[in-house]
Amino acid sequence: MKLCLVCSHGGHFAQMMKLLDAFKSHEFFIVTFQSEGTKHLENAYFVKFEGWDSRGKLLLVKTILSSIKILISEKPDIIITTGAGEIAVPFCYVGKSLGIKIIFIDTLSRITTSSAAGRLIYPVADLFLVQWESLLKEYGPKAKYWGQVI
């Protein structure tokens, strides 16, 4: 079974690294943004963060194109993501349309309010986890609490 681990750099990446023990026994690769904290990775694809256009809209076209390219050539069975939305949303939607299972793990930093990534990915997630029980009611019946990264 092949896993595709998707996360932005910084806190979302740190949470993914904490969870790596759960994924290690399977074949896996990482997709993330390049930064000082991620450039040492070997089995990783680096996606460039496009930022926002002049009207404040998130630019995702290149990320969507990279997700199609990476997912078609790697053919993972499961996408696992810890966010953020900038990278997780395109991968999850493209992945879902290719028949790949989606596991979403909401960030530890959200306690009482849902994240944008969470709200957008909820409909396509096969497994949807939050890290605080107080968030279960914010998302819906599919959300589960299985513990925290710390």
């Binding site: 079974m1 896993l3 750099h9 910084g10 806190g11 979302h12 990446f13 740190a14 949470q15 904490k18 969870l19 023990d21 759960a22 994924f23 026994s25 399977h26 930064s35 000082e36 904290g37 991620t38 450039k39 040492h40 069975d77 499961i78 299972k101 596991i103 793990i105 960030t107 530890l108 930093s109 959200r110 306690i111 009482t112 309010t113 497994l127 986890l129 890290q131 605080w132 299985w146 513990g147 925290q148 990264v149 710390i150």
Partner: protein, 173 residues
């Protein structure tokens, strides 16, 4: 050495300026990772960004870690069993999009994992007071290492549940 880190995303001049001021008053070395902040420290060594290897080295050699309330910085710092002083970024200063950093800091402080400083005037005091407390902190960890601590830290419910879920899928496949 006191290691200060404010994460990869945005500057946090308010904390860096305060830590630089403190660095000018104490003998202990202060090393700061300042991100894209505009304030450049005068009383200590500083770096904009650090590689994972350098971060690990500084975490490892620090006596106290001071950081913003970003989950990445905190969970990385927790690996080193050192006192962690967390200063949440505030929405009112334009340092973050909302006040979720205050919320997560409070939760982790309630669990006894970090010291939180919301008012920067108190930062120096908190850092100075950690001296005495640090021994207790270590002793507590030592005690916990022999018993419950293992269950709490080494066994992680989320990791176990995810592993089991993936194994079930693998069998079905």
């Amino acid at each position: 050495m006191i290691f200060v880190t404010i994460g990869m995303m945005y500057g946090f001049d308010r904390l860096i300026r305060k830590m630089d001021e403190i660095a000018g008053m104490i003998e202990e070395e202060v090393i700061m990772q300042i991100g894209v902040g505009t304030y450049k420290p005068e009383n200590g060594k500083y770096f904009e960004f650090l590689s994972k290897k350098d971060m690990d080295n500084f975490y490892n050699s620090a006596r106290i870690i001071v950081c913003h309330s970003g989950v990445g910085s905190i969970i990385s710092a927790l690996d080193y069993n050192k006192p962690i002083v967390v200063v949440p970024r505030l929405h009112s200063y334009g340092e973050v999009i909302d006040d979720h950093q205050i919320e997560i800091a409070k939760k982790l402080e309630d669990k006894g994992k970090i010291h939180v400083v919301n008012n920067l005037d108190k930062l120096e005091n908190v850092i100075n007071n950690i001296n005495g407390e640090y021994n207790n902190f270590n002793k507590k960890n030592e005690l916990m290492n022999n018993g419950e601590y293992n269950n709490f830290y080494k066994k992680n419910e989320l990791i176990d549940n995810l592993r089991e879920y993936l194994d079930t899928l693998n069998i079905k496949k």
